[in-house]
């Protein structure tokens, strides 16, 4: 009896210790396990034409071994024009991909604009900022005469100087066609002494759902002008291909019939045997019941 009591007490003590352990582990919050995360801010300036720029900051924080985009963080933007002191131009909150964007209208009075995006930090994420400076520039794309194989477009880049806009030579330009998942690069080239470039886009490209080709010319992170972008819509020569796909279900014609037959025969055989065995198990119980009934009758 006494040994049973001791054993009972031991079990209770053992269970209590396990519960204490669970409680301790549950009390560990991620904040106590992680110190402040290091942040990393990057900034891209995209010139949209008409002196307007889009400033996009990406805020990430180091979690484990990777930098992960952070949502809901406030980013402040500043600009310094030529030698004029830096002024705040606005703020934005990062989206779920870690991006925060604002648009800013350059006034056309300065030669360079130095932008800064700053994240002030908080209790869990450290502060960081990123800078980029651009000279105002304009990228334009216009329809040129098509040849038998390609659509052709004139691309022109002009940069801002004390004398106004002048053509810029030797700027690498990429031309894309917007597709559903990402932009398809179709042409790369460099501007000539007149700041011009003849871009060729394959003529057999099918259009999008609206039956248009959305052609985008882009300069990416140029040392002087930052990123530039312009687009033009074009009617494609080839119309999109519409596939009449049957519904992908097991009861349609598209279902692999031979596979279905094999599958149902095999599974039916195996599960049929299982069912038979289950019936045998039920039979064991009923055999005993019958035996008991028999002995009662006798």
């Amino acid at each position: 009896m006494r040994s049973k009591q001791i054993s009972h007490r031991r079990t209770v003590r053992w269970m209590r210790n396990v519960l204490l352990l669970i409680a301790t582990m549950a009390a560990i919050s991620p904040d106590t396990l992680h110190a402040q995360h290091r942040s990393r801010v990057s900034l891209e300036c995209l010139q949209l034409g008409n002196q307007e720029v889009e400033l996009t900051a990406l805020v990430r924080a180091r979690i484990g071994r990777s930098y992960v985009p952070m949502a809901g963080l406030k980013v402040d933007y500043f600009v310094a024009r030529d030698s004029i002191e830096e002024v705040r131009i606005g703020s934005a909150e990062t989206d779920e991909r870690g991006f925060a964007s604002i648009r800013y209208m350059m006034d056309g009075t300065s030669l360079t604009y130095a932008f800064r995006a700053s994240f002030a930090g908080n209790d869990t994420i450290s502060d960081d900022d990123a800078t980029t400076s651009v000279v105002p520039a304009v990228l334009t794309i216009e329809q040129a005469e098509d040849d038998s194989l390609n659509h052709q477009f004139n691309v022109l880049i002009q940069g801002w100087t004390a004398d106004g806009y002048v053509p810029v030579e030797d700027v690498p330009v990429e031309v894309f066609v917007r597709r559903m998942l990402s932009d398809l690069k179709v042409f790369t080239g460099t501007t000539d002494a007149d700041g011009r470039l003849l871009a060729q886009v394959p003529g057999d490209l099918p259009g999008d759902a609206n039956e248009t080709l959305d052609i985008v010319a882009r300069v990416t992170e140029h040392d002087t002008y930052g990123s530039l972008s312009a687009s033009i819509l074009k009617t494609p020569r080839t119309q999109p291909i519409h596939h009449d796909r049957p519904e992908r279900a097991l009861w349609t014609d598209a279902a692999p019939l031979w596979m279905l037959i094999t599958f149902f025969v095999l599974m039916g055989t195996v599960w049929g045997h299982y069912l038979y065995i289950l019936l045998q198990l039920v039979g064991i119980k009923s055999d005993t019941r019958k035996l008991q009934q028999q002995s009662v009758n006798e």
Binding site: R10, L21, R65, S66, V270, I277, G283, I284, K285
Partner: protein
């Protein structure tokens, strides 16, 4: 029910195992529970922060979880094939350890698929597998095959247990808690050892023994086809089906030897699980090691001889000591050569040595599963450019280790608890020597 004297005598010997839990056993159970809790902490972090807390990234999308899954499904072969074949061949010496084999099968088949769930990014869409099954997909085949196999294994174990449950229910020898006795009564299904009932059990076991062998082969073949049907180096191989089956039976036999050795020592089963049993299972291990070695050699020789660029990338990783060379060497020396030597040399063919070499071999086969998955995924067809190094190379994180240990602990805990509920040697099957 009239119980044979031999069964009562046997049960008297095994009664302490079912009646009491020693302090050492409690400490062992507490240790396993701690490991499972550690896994729980890892799971909490994985659910909260997503798969970013694991080493899996865009390129290496499978890692240690899938290695664990293949490993556990592999060792589940211990019961299915060994039990099925030995039953059909009416091999008498199988009886003392057959329950261990069947327990391994059921528990490993329950634990293994959990790792798939840990690997799935969108668990909220898991039901789509049932709602929108795509019959052409090997993943769908795998789900169907494993669930069918699990049901078959449970039935096989249960059918073999019914007579034991009836003995536990009817004997006075066993002093167990009321709930346990009640459970024995329910699970015995009123079995009275009537000729008709004996026939029902025999017919059912015979049927299952026939079915469980092809089922087990199908399960592991389907598992291999998840890799084999993919056009990737190191995976796209016609021999992957039999290769996986062979590796599975081999590792299952290794785990069976370890279990036999452990339970023999803990419950003093030297009288029932004798050196002869170890020798016989050792011979099986030797034959399987040779077969597995042959498949391994064939697999790598053909890849190496073909010198196809993409295949060579994977082979270079496996043969290079700055990458996976050491692990590859261990997997093959400890996984093939060592067991052959230990079984072949008469002086080493002892239970202790066999258990030790089985443990090393089982570990080597786990490493082998890792080597099947990771180096291939680290060698994509499209070159990885402008990618951070941690996105290219896979490294196991503490979260993955915690869940792996948690899974292993769950397997061992279920095994320990099962041994507290049923005798590890079937008392209804074995005749005690006078």
């Amino acid at each position: 029910m009239r119980i044979a004297e031999s069964s009562i005598a046997l049960l008297r010997e095994f009664a302490p195992q079912l009646e009491r839990t020693s302090l050492a056993a409690r400490i062992w159970i507490a240790f396993l529970v701690l490991l499972i809790l550690f896994g729980g902490v890892g799971l909490y972090f994985q659910v909260k922060y997503g798969h970013a807390v694991t080493g899996m990234r865009d390129h290496v999308v499978w890692g240690i979880y899938i290695a664990n899954f293949i490993f556990f499904i592999g060792i589940s072969y211990a019961g299915a094939v060994i039990s099925g074949i030995l039953h059909l061949l009416k091999v008498e010496w199988r009886k003392p350890f057959i329950r261990l084999a069947e327990l391994i099968t059921v528990i490993a088949t329950i634990v293994g698929p959990v790792f798939i769930l840990l690997c799935v990014g969108r668990l909220d869409r898991l039901h789509h597998l049932i709602i929108y099954p795509r019959l052409q997909s090997p993943i769908t085949w795998d789900v169907l095959a494993i669930s069918t196999y699990l049901v078959g294994s449970i039935l096989l174990l249960y059918l073999a247990l019914i007579r034991d449950f009836a003995i536990y229910r009817d004997t006075d020898v066993l002093k167990v808690a009321k709930w346990k006795r009640k459970l024995y009564r329910i699970l015995a299904l009123g079995y009275q050892d009537l000729p008709r009932q004996r026939l029902r059990i025999k017919t059912s076991i015979d049927l299952l023994a026939v079915m469980i062998i092809p089922l087990a082969i199908v399960v592991h073949s389907v598992l291999s086809w998840i890799f084999g049907m993919t056009l990737r180096p190191g995976w796209h191989s016609t021999i992957f089906g039999p290769y996986f089956v062979m590796a599975a039976i081999y590792s299952g036999t290794g785990v069976l030897i370890i279990a036999m050795w452990i339970f023999r020592r803990i419950y003093n089963l030297q009288e029932y699980i004798t050196e002869k049993h170890f020798t016989y299972v050792g011979y099986m291990l030797l034959a399987l090691a040779a077969g597995y070695g042959y498949f391994t050699f064939s697999e790598y020789l053909t890849s190496w001889y073909g010198s196809e660029h993409w295949e060579s990338q994977v082979l270079d990783k496996l043969f290079s000591f700055s990458e996976y060379g050491a692990a590859f060497l261990f997997a093959n020396v400890a996984g093939i050569i060592l067991p052959i030597i230990v079984v072949a040399v008469r002086r080493l063919r002892k239970p202790g040595y066999l258990a030790l070499v089985s443990a090393i071999m089982v570990l080597a086969l786990w490493v082998k599963r890792y080597l099947i998955i990771v180096p291939t995924l680290e060698s994509p067809l499209i070159p990885m450019q402008e990618t951070r190094p941690e996105y290219v190379d896979y490294a196991i994180t503490w979260v993955e280790w915690s869940l792996t240990l948690g899974g292993l602990a769950t397997f061992l805990l279920l095994f320990t608890l099962a041994s507290k509920f049923v005798t590890v040697v079937p008392v209804s099957e074995i005749l005690k020597k006078p």
